[in-house]
Symmetry: D2
Subunit: 277 residues, 4 copies
């Protein structure tokens, strides 16, 4: 499959007009516009205290949107699978308390129904990037969709996955680069920031980056978040936790609240340097 | 995730007893026993003529089982998606005419229900190896399951995927190595035959190989099928087509009927050389 | 080989002091200090006109150093192998005319002798990252060394390669991330910017990036250069050409002089945003 | 670089005539003929006892050729670098005692001179596959050359490396597949046996496999050696050691002498099954 054989729903042209994807009841968050959106929250929703303090920290740092996993796709069936319904309730509570919309993952067609009722944006995770039934179902509901790149998906395959959603009528899609699988053992995956300019030439969908899942190491999150902004990303999504070492999921990549505050400042400076807000 | 951190349903020991997985009403096909099983059939079921001539060719070549896709997971939503229900009907007809059981892919929880009614074995494809809802559903039905390795899945992740199935009560699982994604452009994927001996040390599940999807080139199928047998595989699955150049799906990797006959003979000789039938 | 088994010449500590590598007779270029160094020049030196106009364009854009290949390691023996000695002469002329020091590649022990006489900095290319005889020879001469990462080298292997140089007495080493080999066909290689923060924790050597060779596409060079600066790189090296389409080597990744000017401005802004010059 | 753009010294045709490469004074070992050649010996020559007992074990198992590293290219400069000259002396002694020719690695142009004087075949290792000066030097001496595939080299690049040798006048080249770098951590590298049939279509050079370095695990060596033979390899090279756990280099992949004897028998059976000797 060659990139130039792509026939996606969004007309391909050397510099396609960027699509604006609006999230939240008041349409207050826009991906693909002038502003670079910061999304922050815990990898997995665990407790009321964890979620509420995280939401407040996100807001303080300038995040415009919350993240948090209620349903978690885990490699091992013996690992924590997420709180499920109570997790969604805590996300709703966090939204009420902060006014920030939230994105959360749908791991199957069943959970998609619930997620689409509650969440402001539906996430399709890397492992499900070619779960075509789920993609189609995401295209038949009305929430905007954040489509993560598969761990070994080419840009072309990623755009075809977006096309499965778009074909059903929902073109409110944001692409999220979250690292690809390589031979390098020092990072969890390899963040492929070149996806930003290359996809910019091939598609209208906004592109954001997730340096937390890409690198798996908190020390790399700040510099890679800034690199993403400098490279043209329309948003950055990071994991945070009040006590990273006690996290039930992916603690080593979670920023502390203090680090998030610093990141928010850094992002503002770099965004300004590249003419964004 | 380290391989040695695995806690799978099948006890891990230096040389676990191999599990025998029986397929077909009369239990006539056994994976993990003395015989190396040849499975053959078209990548996608297309027409009655194609399916019936393929089934007869498979039988002539010594295949003990048929394959054929009724539901096809395709990278592009614009590509042929399989015949669906009429494809299943043709597979049933081929089974009646030859007496050979068949395996076919379930691409989602919905199609799994239909496939489990008709097929002798349910295939979970590479793209769905971490579709956990589908894995769980496959564990809650009674047909044996062929679990293909994901395009960039480690052995450990593959065994965890099997564990999702086994945890629900179905341990009739056959693992199918079908090539992994590498940087080499001359083959579709890279067939990783080392999976056979390494998995043999870590799990009881039989392991088979699919040299057609792994290499994507018919010239490599015969030698890689023999290599699989010599390397200890419990079975080999290959694509065939009456007219490969006219195939709707993956024609370049399909063997002609004459080539399949030669392959059957070659496999018998190599199997005998390594003490198998 | 695990990263944490590394015993390199430079003491490993959570945050090693960064080494300053000085280049040029007057020591006017410093890697690892406050300033982010821009290096620009043609991939291969071709003609006097090409080299001199490139050098002037580099200077206008704020580059502090020139690059240019006189000896080129090429995949095919039938491809242009570089001008050799006349190429070195043109690089010396460009230095005289602009006052900027230059780096050029030594492809073997023989060419290293000549390069070390003329150049201000010796480059060891990706294909030679584990050419241990060449590394040792580079350690026994007195010019600073730019060590490119091998196409499939881990950070640990890269640091061990640096150690081969350092052991011979030359610790004036700058590491250059230039992309790694992955399955993605849309870019030549995948620029791995996470190398910057991870190496920052493991070694004292400055780290720069080469977005031209990493991406192979001029459209990606500007955003990836800025991403590198935002991610903490100590320098950026880019290919330029007066007429990219006529380049004898790697034309598709070469910036025009106008694009370089824009890049220089962009780098200044981003560097300022992250507290660098 | 596309495979079909290759213009190698050996004319490319759908089924090129296979070249026979003869090794040893009496030309008694032939790669590319009817027989599949077994090469065995220690990874690194360590002591007289180790080398002589290994040579005798190799001969007993039916090996027609010895291997042993006198000069070792090691990732770390602090690792054992080989015995050098005394290693060559032990290899000569092993040849005298058994009558078997030997292959050993030249790690640089300097060592190539010495190796070419003593050895019956010169090995160019994976890390040096694109050390073009070394390739050219190997082409200007008269010993046959075993060219190992680089850790992340495509088939096309590998053939171009062979072309660097052939252009200088030496076409006595045997290609050795030794595994490629992938994300799978359970094996050292991933043995890519598809290289055998694909290269068979593109080049006249014989192809052998090294399952020891490819898998890095002794448990996988026997089955992957047989797989190589079944897949059409012209030879198999394996590491052996009188006491693998005490080996100075790559012990985990070394076969015991008893295992080698079993392997020799297994190879004979599989070779016969595919019409080879």
């Amino acid at each position: 499959m060659k990139v130039n054989e792509l026939m996606t729903h969004q007309a391909l042209s050397p510099s396609p007009t960027k699509l604006c994807v609006k999230v939240g009841g008041a349409g207050e968050v826009v991906f693909g516009g002038h502003a670079v959106v910061l999304i922050a929250g815990p990898c997995a929703v665990e407790t009321e205290h964890q979620m509420m303090t995280s939401a407040q920290a996100a807001q303080r740092a300038g995040a415009k949107m919350l993240r948090g996993g209620a349903y978690k796709p885990r490699t091992s069936p013996h690992a924590f699978q997420g709180l499920g319904e109570p997790g969604l309730a805590l996300l709703r509570q966090a939204r009420r308390e902060t006014g920030l919309p939230f994105v959360t993952e749908a791991v199957c067609v069943e959970t998609l129904k619930r997620v689409a009722e509650d969440a402001d944006m539906v996430q399709i995770g890397a492992r499900n990037m070619q779960n075509f039934a789920l993609l189609r179902a995401a295209g038949r509901q009305s929430r905007p969709v954040m489509l993560k790149r598969g761990l070994s998906a080419t840009y072309a395959e990623w755009l075809f996955a977006a096309e499965y959603i778009a074909m059903e009528g929902n073109t409110q899609i944001v692409l999220c680069e979250r690292g690809i699988r390589t031979y390098e053992p020092a990072t969890r995956n390899t963040l492929d920031l070149s996806a930003i300019p290359i996809l910019r030439m091939q598609t209208s969908y906004p592109v954001i980056v997730d340096p937390s899942h890409a690198t798996g190491r908190k020390e790399a999150v700040h510099p890679m978040a800034l690199a993403g902004v400098a490279g043209g990303a329309d948003g950055v999504m990071v994991d945070i936790h009040p006590a990273p070492k006690e996290a039930l999921c992916d603690g080593p990549q979670a920023l502390s609240f203090a680090s998030l505050l610093t990141l928010g400042e850094g992002m503002r400076d770099v965004a300004a340097a590249v003419g964004r807000a």
